[in-house]
């Protein structure tokens, strides 16, 4: 077993590429090893998880201490959507693919067939800078974005897939065998649709965007929140269990990556760095947490990585420099 500190680093997202590789090798040795890393978060979350209603809790507290009692002051941004807590991430090394910085990886799709005790499982995996579309046996298609993984049992009659990362699904509807995506803490059920799911590990939420038809999004606990999303809407399921829908948000923003567009709307810089890494295949490190929390609103498609970084640096007043294979972003002095 690797030193516990290395596993700790992986569990909190602060592991260097070497550390990640070492832990991945260890995980491949046995199912127990893999479970220790992959299932740790879920195993540490208490039951019953339930839905914590932050809104009504806030109202109780505010009323008790006399905040906003007369109703003359509404908090700005008092829409139907709660502000999602931004996960603070420690500055961390981002995994870089095998190619040199600046070169888009066009590696072949990695497809593995795993044999598990409940039958064979097919796994599709993409690395940084990769994207692939696959037609499944039932005729549904999935487009997998970079750094993602999709698992499913091709021989099973139940159409269940397990997603880490990001994908867009175009599902052939069959009400006798509902197509379901397990991603993060969410279960997304097709009701006749085309929808996108986003569940990258460094972002503590799952995003679902529907462009055709509708899906049911359900938090995976016995008594979880559930919502039916219709075409043209977007839902976010955060790690603390709040499920929110913003009527003004467009699914197109979340599926923009399909044509290579990156679209940011007040996204924290640390998420932007991860997105740039996935698109361009270049490691980007944000030097401190304060910097990582700054918001970026921008959209990129045909720009080079340098053009994208120049635009962001100008807008945020930050600097960046290449150090070997990595780009490091720092505050402007």
């Amino acid at each position: 077993m690797p030193d516990w500190r290395v596993i700790d680093a992986v569990l909190v997202g602060a592991a260097s590429p070497e550390e990640q590789a070492a832990v991945r090798r260890w995980m491949a040795e046995s199912d127990a090893n893999a479970a220790l890393v992959e299932s740790m978060r879920a195993a540490l979350s208490p039951l019953p998880a339930g839905a914590v209603d932050v809104d009504s809790a806030w109202k109780s507290v505010a009323k008790k201490v006399g905040i906003g009692v007369s109703g003359t002051r509404q908090a700005p941004g008092n829409r139907t959507v709660r502000a999602l807590p931004v996960r603070r991430s420690a500055p961390h090394w981002i995994w870089i693919g095998a190619a040199a910085a600046g070169v888009m990886l066009v590696a072949s799709l990695s497809v593995r067939r795993l044999i598990r005790s409940d039958g064979p499982v097919t796994e599709l995996r993409t690395a940084s800078g990769e994207r692939i579309t696959k037609t499944l046996d039932d005729g549904s298609t999935v487009t997998l974005n970079a750094e993602s993984r999709l698992r499913y049992s091709p021989e099973s009659n139940a159409r269940q897939v397990y997603l880490d990362g990001e994908a867009v699904f175009h599902v052939v509807h069959d009400s006798r065998r509902p197509f379901q995506v397990h991603a993060g803490g969410a279960l997304i059920t097709d009701l006749g649709t085309r929808f996108g799911v986003r569940a990258y590990p460094e972002v503590s939420r799952v995003d679902v965007a529907v462009t055709e038809g509708s899906v049911a999004v359900h938090r995976k606990t016995a008594s979880g929140d559930s919502v039916v999303l219709r075409a043209g809407s977007v839902a976010h399921l955060s790690s603390d269990g709040t499920l929110s829908v913003d009527p003004s948000e467009q699914p197109a923003q979340l599926t923009a990556w399909l044509d290579g567009t990156l679209s940011f709307n007040r996204s924290p810089l640390v998420e932007v760095a991860a997105e740039l890494r996935r698109k361009y295949g270049v490691a980007i490190r944000v030097a401190d947490t304060g910097l990582g929390a700054r918001r970026v609103t921008a959209s990129f498609r045909d720009e080079t990585i340098t053009q994208a970084l120049d635009a962001i640096s100008l807008a945020l007043g930050i600097d960046y420099q290449r150090r070997g294979d990595t780009i490091v972003v720092t505050a402007r002095r």
Binding site: L36, E38, A42, L47, W58, V61, K64, A83, P85, V86
Partner: protein, 179 residues
């Protein structure tokens, strides 16, 4: 805005800053409190009470390393105080037997929940349930709530070395139990 800035604004009576802190931490603190008090309603009440007191006494509110560690530590202190009998968190050297209340808070999932959670997660939960309580708390604060070692030390009232000790021993023990 840094935690110190936010705390400063709350001291000065900024209701928006206070609401922001509330919304950011309430759910995670409630999950943490459930470990101690056993149910959601009591946990919510405890956390709401904490926030109400912070606001009422805001002019004197100060934090050490972060708002988050202050709040987690405060929840733990309240939870320990409200127990009828004085209760010390079980540690490695105090014996590994589970008390009745330990079992309550780390109850195995019901069959339908277990199916949703997946067999691996359910088995890992069982293995975690056998660890000493202080170790479980350190692991949750670290790998679920992602507090730093220093923050966890502040919350649990132990040293940073102590935190590392809990995490290291815990992981080794889990690997041995979980086969």
């Amino acid at each position: 805005m840094s935690d110190q800035d936010l705390a400063q604004r709350i001291r000065a009576g900024d209701e928006h800053a206070f609401e922001q802190v509330f919304r950011e931490h309430f759910a995670a603190l409630t999950s943490f409190a459930i470990r101690y008090v056993g149910n959601v309603a009591a946990a919510e009440e405890l956390v709401q009470g904490l926030f109400a007191d912070v606001w009422t006494d805001r002019t004197r509110w100060t934090i050490r390393s972060s708002i988050r560690s202050y709040l987690f530590a405060a929840v733990r202190n309240r939870a320990l105080n409200t127990r009828r009998r004085a209760r010390v968190e079980r540690d490695w050297d105090e014996g590994e037997a589970l008390s009745h209340t330990d079992a309550l808070q780390w109850s195995p999932p019901a069959p339908d929940e277990a199916m949703e959670l997946g067999e691996r997660v359910a088995r890992l939960r069982d293995a975690i349930a056998e660890l000493p309580e202080r170790c479980r708390l350190a692991m949750q604060l670290r790998w679920r709530d992602e507090l730093s070692y220093a923050e966890i030390a502040e919350v649990l009232g132990i040293s940073v070395k102590g935190v590392e000790n809990q995490l290291g021993r815990g992981l080794k023990a889990l690997r041995e139990k979980f086969l």
